[in-house]
Point group: C2
Chain length 111, copies 2
DNA sequence: GACGATAGTTCCATAATCCCGAACTGTCGA
DNA sequence: TCGACAGTTCGGGATTATGGAACTATCGTC
């Protein structure tokens, strides 16, 4: 159940967060992670036609940008959105993005 | 005064917009363009230690993502934020980002 | 008009980053 | 002990970013 290394709240930058969100696959992953916290990588990526090694990179980018935190749980990685940290550091930024991400990403043939 | 080609409002995607904003230089350029519309490339980039060929690429990315529109005005390019299009397409997304962009980008030794 | 200065773009080679198959690590269940 | 499963790491091919140098187009001046 130990957590993987992640940047502390105060060292998160807006540009990194936006860069992490600036990819349709990652945007969809973040949207799903926010909708249901505590799920694992593979469950959250279910249905996406993306190879696992690529997904692993996407999760790393999201973790290094401070959007999510990962904890090792047996052979799974449990994804937890860092909602508090982001809301504290960049108030008002994430909510409207995730509200919109939904409809759009489903219409782009991503799934 | 003719405008350079740009994507129509309805074909803008959230991921492209966030990708365009996910770079500290571009974030700063957008912030400045929003703060004072109708200025030219070089005036908006004043003080940034970035070569002009790189800036030209940044402006192109911002234009192709739909964040700004450029019109040729003599030997200048006049930058106009596409605030209406963005607000219509992605309501609530840009304002909080630009409100924050200010303080942060000035503290990262960018200038 | 010819000419230099100005504002940007384009070209191109280097550097950095992304993508994903294959091999690997670590854990669970039988 | 032995797979099977969840993810990561490695490696190299493809894509994208960077920035110097050359180029284009326009303005002001003589």
């Amino acid at each position: 159940m130990r957590p993987l290394p992640q940047p502390p709240r105060e060292s998160l930058t807006l540009a990194s967060v936006l860069h992490a969100l600036g990819d349709p696959v990652r945007l969809e992953l973040v949207r799903r992670a926010w909708a249901n916290p505590e799920l694992t990588c593979s469950v959250l990526a279910d249905g996406l036609d993306v190879p696992m090694s690529t997904l692993s990179n996407h999760w790393r980018i999201l973790r290094e940008a401070g959007l999510i935190s990962m904890t090792v749980d047996g052979r799974h990685r449990r994804i937890r959105p860092r909602a508090d940290d982001l809301h504290d550091r960049f108030p008002g930024v994430l909510d409207p993005i995730l509200r919109l991400g939904t409809a759009e990403s489903l219409n782009t043939g991503l799934l």
